[in-house]
Symmetry: C2
Subunit: 247 residues, 2 copies
């Protein structure tokens, strides 16, 4: 399995419009340090699966027949804005596995165009070819699912957006070793108002409990980038376009 | 007054994903022929006003203090998607004049961030510095306003999205000469299902009645581009990045 981060940022990722903090100025001066909305491309067993779709250039990135489906964690704009554009297409239908959320995102599920929304429930595993996907519940301000993706003995968990993890999700995650965990971490330690996202201390504690072979933090906001630059703690913070090979 | 088209396309503008028609192939081969979502920048009396905000790169195009406001015709995604990104900003507040539409676009008006939505009613003119803006009702699937912008003796009308025009709008438009009319025209003549947009015959008839000094058609879909290429009728069809000077 190969996971490539297409984005690792939160809504307040560097560079934030109008912000002159060191992290935002650095991202403005060097676009390779800017963070697009948190999302990833998973390549496994000849399949190409998109995890989240907040980037608005997905129509250009993925021509017809270049994607086998989308695993959508939830219906916030920074995770599904690209779908509002990808739907207008004459290409083959594209399955989008997603949580049950009647509100959706504006008219996205009412006028899905090319997209085929397939509602999933936590714990109800399904197969995409030889790959087994198990949705797990996350803790966020909207119905949100993480994705545990298994192929042979390899096992990846993508867990964003969330603050903490429900017990049932821990139970699913701990049934077998995890090769890679990608975890929400939007804030530096002690963020005053960590709405729906982990801060760095919370993310570290969750990873200590899950003990995966490898881990990356995603959904990074500019204040965490600034904290990491000052403190020198950059280990585990994912970068846009970074690729992680598993197995 | 100077009007620059930032986009002249409809939702089905060339290149449509997965479409191999001549217009879409031409736009794919030559990106200067591609059409972004219909929108424009109006520069007048030292002010810079954005008309519609469907482009998703507006955050990068307009740094702090480079815009004085947005005239939003309606809350469809291809006209306001860029606002969902522009709101997360530390720059100065940005006024957005818009129609009364309680539905809005997903959570855009609930979480406006930097944006200050100012609801307008057709016929109730207001001033932005020395510029007078008169909202006029259009005929579309959502509450939609056109904008008549006057500075001194110069007068521009931006009329998209619409199919036809209400009598009251004609009455407002005909009170004084029009230097430039920008009009919705999404389809070739006789389109089978022209939902909420003019076809070319309808647009031509409206322009004949309004008799402006100059006119441009916008919100062009790929089938109109293909029709225009075959028929040789390109006169009046706006192009992205085209600039029209008035006065």
């Amino acid at each position: 399995m190969r996971l490539t981060f297409l984005g690792t940022g939160g809504v307040w990722a560097a560079p934030v419009h109008g912000c002159t903090c060191a992290a935002c100025e650095a991202a403005r001066a060097d676009p390779s340090r800017a963070r697009a909305p948190a999302s990833a491309l998973l390549e496994v067993a000849g399949l190409r699966l998109l995890i989240d779709a907040g980037r608005t250039d997905l129509v250009d990135r993925f021509p017809p027949r270049s994607l086998d489906g989308v695993l959508l964690t939830h219906f916030h704009g920074d995770h599904c804005l690209g779908l509002t554009l990808m739907r207008w297409s004459m290409a083959e239908p594209l399955p989008v596995w997603c949580p049950h959320d009647p509100r959706g995102y504006d008219d996205l599920t009412k006028h899905p165009g090319r997209l085929r929304f397939l509602t999933c429930a936590a714990g109800d595993a399904f197969c995409i070819g030889p790959v087994t996907v198990t949705p797990v519940a996350l803790i966020h301000s909207r119905p949100t699912l993480g994705w545990v993706i298994a192929h042979g003995a390899q096992r990846i968990a993508y867990l964003s957006d969330t603050r903490g993890l429900p017990d049932a999700t821990f139970a699913t995650l701990e049934t077998a070793p995890l090769d890679l965990v990608v975890l929400d971490c939007a804030y530096p330690p002690g963020a005053p108002d960590p709405r729906g996202h982990n801060d760095l201390d919370e993310a570290d504690a969750l990873l200590a409990q899950l003990a995966p072979r490898d881990a990356r933090l995603t959904h990074i906001n500019h204040d965490l980038d600034q904290y990491a630059a000052v403190s020198g703690i950059v280990c585990g913070i994912a970068q846009d376009h970074e690729t992680v090979d598993v197995g």
